[in-house]
Amino acid sequence: MFDKNYLEKVREEKEKWEKLYESLKERDVKFVTDSEIPIKNLYTPLDIKDKDYVSDISFPGVPPYTRGVYPSMYRGRLWTMRLFSGHGTPEETNKRWKFLYENGETGFSAAVDALTFNGIDPTNKDAAAEVGTSGVPLYCIDSLFALTEDIPIDKISVALVVEPFTTAPVCSMYFNMAQMRGYDIKQLMGTTQNDILTMTVGYIPYKNSPPNHILRLACDFIEWTVAQKNVPKWHPINFTGYNYREGGIDAVQELGFVFASACSHIDNLIERGWKADDFVGRLAFHLSAHKDFFEEIAKFRAARRIWYKLMKDKYEVKDPRNLGFRFHVQTAGSSLTAQSPKINIVRTAIQALEANLGGCQSLHTNSYDEAICLPSEEAVLVALRTQQVISDETKIHNTIDPFAGSYFIEWLTDEVEDRVWKYIDKIQKAGTIDKALSSGFLYKEMRDAFHKRRMRLESGDEIMLGINKYPVPYDTVTDVFRTNKEAINIEVRRIEKLKARRDNAKLEKILDKLRNVCEKEENVMPTVMEATKEGATVGEVCNIYREIWGTWDPPLAI
């Protein structure tokens, strides 16, 4: 990008400056990123001398999309403010959603409880204590009606954060509910997380089926919604690097995990006879905005370029609309502390800024009580207002991708990209993503990462204020938000009412058909749509998966 003679001049001047620098003492800290990329004291034109602006950086909405996925970015439309939210019962969650909507939220996201996540009904006594404690219980179609009552789901997009094992039952309930309300599901906008790695290495699954079946279930949903155009505007999967990043891996590994996983899904659908262009334009991503300010911005920029190259070179995607890497961001829950919780507001604001400066399409900001309970109304409002301070008061979005051209950011974007390609290779050597799980490879990667991080915290190499520097006693927010203790009774009654109403003989026939579909390993979606419309619960559908495919204990590494 620079004239050769000019670069020579820069080199000479830099040598002089280095002499000045040599005589000075540096502080005794490691100058590395969170991914342990060594960082120089200064970046100059010399660090990006081989870059070509047009081919490597280019323009927003134009390959290789380094500067953004749309030509106008936030000058055209702001990111979606979407707070992941759910607790107690669907009715209480509906109330929280309306509260957020009235305060300016622009997208919804359902956080479900552990039973919905694992496909367990509340009648299971080993799980009953967890009804509604960590998210909203969505066990049957009636729950979906209650969740979305008086909410304009034809105008505002909804993210259903469920994973492949329960994607079909929960999402089919949502689609059936929408149809019964008179909406055309071909127009419905939203996202299903549907991410195999969330429910295997992010969280540990409880009595789910083995990974090869989980991968197939994830792909069934992509095929039925988008490739077969039943719900063509839906995002059928959200590769959620955020969840495993929270488990301790670094920024490079986060992208490695999501891209390796995405390739396995694309390959599966191509084996089914589809072309990449039939569905890749609806694949979405969910990344973390963590502690290292510049590395995260570089990561978002690198991710767009890597995805573009993967789509164009590996999958020979033709339609330019299918080349863009669209992503939601969540600020890093694991960076927050229960000690001095108000400091979390500052941490979250900085991380939100990373996401916006990195060009995200949608953003969740954590509440300051994140480390100790589900968010209180006061805390969640501060989280939403944090995004609104950025959008309405800072003017950061006057211009697109303002960090482009920074010697450091461009260098770091390249460096992250190079390391991610190498890490994708390493994962792919372990096989498709289901094999990398069942062999234990990914569990070992996770273990090594979080022990390393833990050691860094215990040794003080990584600082967390309130924990290992300026420690304060374990002191919590004044008001700890508690979920509704009656939720278990409310949800058991909801299911009893449904069971009394439904045609059990008709449902039994549909469930038998589902057994047959599972045995033949055909796409489960059409039959699960029928089953939940007739009143099947999430547990009833998942129990058929368990019956036909068995359950799986992951090869955890300690």
Binding site: A114, L115, F117, N118, I120, D126, A127, A129, E130, T133, S134, M199, G202, Y203, I204, P205, Y206, K207, G247, G248, T337, A338, Q339, A371, I372, C373, L374, R447, F450, H451, R454, E458, M464, G466, I467, Y474, D475, T476, V480, R482, T483, D553, L556, I558
Partner: protein, 132 residues
């Protein structure tokens, strides 16, 4: 003090999949030279059965779902019913508000470790307080 290694059961009551804390502490227990019995997901009966069968000194519970009172009470009740409550030190780790500590201790939990706890403090507490 006997030469027998301290034996610790690490268990995850319920179905919530937040496991990292339990695994990190498990590794620390093993690295400290104690005997780790990794129970994984266990229901209340399985936890009590494992503790008795494995003759452990410590029952470590990892609970991040907010259901810490329910599970801890059920486990303590069953240990009492079996007449073995006094044989074990019960430790709890996870997302537990500090306001809940005193009630949990009254119920019979020896100590509770919330977010931001250091594994070395857990090891030290076990060494100093284990019932031998």
């Amino acid at each position: 003090m006997s030469e027998k290694k301290i034996r610790v059961l690490m268990s995850k009551p319920g179905i919530d999949g937040h496991w990292r804390g339990g695994i990190v502490v498990s590794r620390a227990i093993r690295d400290a030279g104690m005997e780790l019995i990794f129970g994984g997901f266990q229901n209340v009966e399985q936890i009590v059965e494992s503790a008795i069968q494995e003759d452990v000194d410590v029952i470590g519970l990892s609970i991040h779902s907010g259901a810490h009172f329910a599970y801890t009470q059920q486990i303590i009740d069953l240990l009492k019913e079996r007449g073995v409550l006094d044989n074990f030190m019960i430790l709890l780790g996870g997302i537990v508000p500090a306001q809940d500590f005193s009630k949990l201790k009254e119920m019979g939990v020896a100590n509770i470790y919330g977010p931001g706890s250091m594994t070395r403090d857990i090891i030290e507490f076990i060494r100093e307080n284990v019932k031998r």
